[in-house]
């Protein structure tokens, strides 16, 4: 008797009702933290963006849309947008082509020590951008920097890397290409592994050459990864902070100041919390619009 009872008791948890509280318990940590550190700040930020506040307790003042109208007339805001777009245009295509090219080469089993090359190209991903930024400052230093000495060997005259509006943006872009190409390459490599080899072989048997295989088979397969990279890079460039802070300090003359630098500067240096909140919403809106446009564009091209 006792035997059957215990068996029935043991078998009971199979029924859904008796353990249905567990899944909620398991996912609870995320949702509790998310309410406190996710939803609340985002809502608070909306309220804050209609206020003027220097952070002193009780000093909040409702100012309506003032922050937003001020923002539209704020040159620094527009400049930081312009800088972001410029830096994106400068680094993204190079990074993408380099990442793709290296992945295709390293996917072929043609070269020796493939693992080593892959690791070396990936290495910058591990580095703190503070360490990398300072090293690049040294490399791009005007007088004795190794970058100017290297191009000097090719007879090119020294470049004012960090002291010129445009060259500073180039310097940031070089740092970004250095840091992120390995990431792109690893993503491309993983995607290339997913292409069924029979497909390439069949095309080859049908007389397609390597370029045709690449354009007609490989690239369409990589499309989802490329869209993912585009999205991540757009968001990432808007979120850029450490690299310009360390390498150029946002200068010269705000030429490399990014939205995130602008927000943290307004909040933590100028103590304009309300204005900083309105800035962060403006940038968020731009990122959302960019992402939606991009989705539309890719959906349209697919059809």
């Amino acid at each position: 008797m006792t035997e059957t009872v215990t068996i029935r008791k043991r078998a009971q948890p199979k029924k859904r009702g008796s353990w249905s509280v567990y899944p909620y318990l398991f996912i609870a940590p995320f949702f509790v933290l998310f309410c406190v550190f996710g939803i609340y700040p985002i809502l608070f930020s909306i309220v804050l963006s209609f206020q003027e506040w220097n952070g002193a307790p009780g000093a909040q003042q409702f100012v309506g849309l003032d922050n937003y109208t001020q923002l539209l007339r704020d040159n620094l805001f527009w400049e930081s947008m312009f800088n972001t777009v410029t830096i994106f245009v400068m680094h993204f295509p190079i990074m993408m082509v380099a990442g793709l090219g290296l992945a295709v080469i390293l996917n072929q089993n043609l070269l020796r020590f493939q693992g080593l090359w892959r690791a070396l190209i990936f290495l910058p991903q591990l580095t703190s951008m503070v360490a990398a930024g300072i090293t690049f400052r040294l490399i791009f230093e005007g007088q004795s920097g190794i970058a100017n000495r290297l191009i000097g060997y090719f007879g090119i005259s020294p470049v004012p890397w960090l002291d010129d509006v445009w060259w500073a943006r180039v310097a940031i872009s070089i740092l970004l290409v250095w840091a992120w190409t390995g990431y792109q390459m690893v993503l491309f490599l993983a995607a290339l592994q997913n292409i069924p080899p029979e497909l390439n072989e069949a095309a080859m048997v049908d007389g397609a050459n390597r370029w045709q295989v690449f354009w007609k088979i490989t690239l369409p397969f990589l499309r989802p990864v490329m869209i993912f990279m585009l999205t991540v890079s757009v968001i990432g460039t808007f979120a850029l902070y450490t690299e310009p802070t360390i390498l150029t300090g946002g200068g010269p003359i705000h030429s490399t100041t990014t939205p995130t630098m602008e927000i943290s500067g307004q909040a933590f240096a100028n103590l304009k919390y309300g204005y900083a909140a309105s800035l962060s919403y403006a940038y968020f809106a731009v990122v959302v619009v960019a992402t939606v446009l991009q989705n539309r564009l890719t959906a349209w091209r697919r059809s």
Binding site: F44, L102, L106, L110, L111, Q143, S144, L192
Partner: protein, 283 residues
């Protein structure tokens, strides 16, 4: 990519192969050079860092010695390690739990909660930056403590999503068998599922560790006193010091911050790639 394609090698002429080597090695030189430069500069006296010699004339460990005596780098290293290890271990645990809940159970509101969670991934960190800071300061009084750098990220959407993918691959029969043996749900998670998903936990843990170890923006805002600085904050704080920027100390500090990541990487390369690609290929 074996078989016929590699048998096709003869089609790639020697010249082409040499060209491919030049491209790949050239790019490797570009990615590796800053590390070499950092390492060389870290053993050069300040004047030599701005000198014309590639190799140090008088290699010295003085920079490292000064870093530890003048800057309390040991403390910063310890702070970084404490924050990175604590947040990594706890995050991996909570994300595994969340992934387990979403993968292996059916419950009311599951689809909605999951989409809500995924939706949060698209909100840029910076939107909550100012209010989060105010919360940390006015409510929790956590400014200048490691807590703001550990607690908010403990359960993150990407991690739960990542673990769920992996948990989906764990056969349900395994769980059922344990249930028939009378194991409770927490025991099933801890004794049955966790051992199976260790590789995924390793990949996720590496991503979290790397993100925490290299984090700069939020630490630089919430950490105030030098005794509480993490390594990146300490290195960056030198930049503002009066007079000439002490590149000698900064380079030594950079080497110190890079070495642990390199060790982790070369030890656990496989997990690195697995974690990095999981976000992209599915995303």
């Amino acid at each position: 990519m074996t078989g016929k394609i590699s048998g096709d090698n003869s089609a790639v002429s020697r010249a082409n192969k040499a060209l491919l080597y030049v491209i790949v090695i050239g790019f490797c030189a570009f990615t590796t050079f800053p590390f070499v430069w950092m390492l060389l500069a870290s053993v050069k006296p300040l004047e030599e860092i701005f000198g014309r010699n590639f190799l140090p004339i008088n290699p010295t460990f003085e920079n490292f010695k000064n870093l530890f005596t003048q800057m309390n780098a040991l403390r910063a290293f310890f702070n970084s390690a404490l924050i990175a290890v604590t947040s990594t271990v706890l995050s991996v645990l909570f994300c595994s739990l969340g992934g387990f809940g979403f993968s292996k159970y059916n419950f009311k509101g599951k689809t909605f909660l999951f989409s809500l969670m995924i939706g949060t991934m698209t909100i840029p960190f910076v939107v909550g930056l100012v209010p989060t800071f105010i919360m940390m300061r006015n409510w929790f009084h956590w400014i200048d403590t490691p807590l703001p750098l550990i607690v908010p990220g403990l359960a993150n959407a990407f991690g739960i999503y990542f673990m769920r993918q992996y948990m989906d691959g764990v056969p349900n029969e395994l769980l059922e068998a344990a249930r028939i043996d009378g194991a409770g749900e927490p025991t099933i998670f801890w004794r049955v599922v966790t051992p199976v998903v260790v590789p995924a936990m390793a990949s996720l843990g590496i991503i979290f560790f790397m993100a925490s170890w290299n984090n700069f923006l939020f630490p630089s805002i919430v950490l105030r006193s030098p005794d509480n600085f993490t390594l990146p904050v300490m290195i960056a704080s030198l930049q503002g010091s009066a007079g000439r920027t002490p590149y000698d100390l900064m380079m030594a500090g950079s080497v110190l911050s890079v070495i642990p990541m390199l060790l982790v990487f070369f030890g656990l390369q496989r997990y690195f790639y697995a974690g990095i690609t999981a976000g992209g290929v599915k995303g």
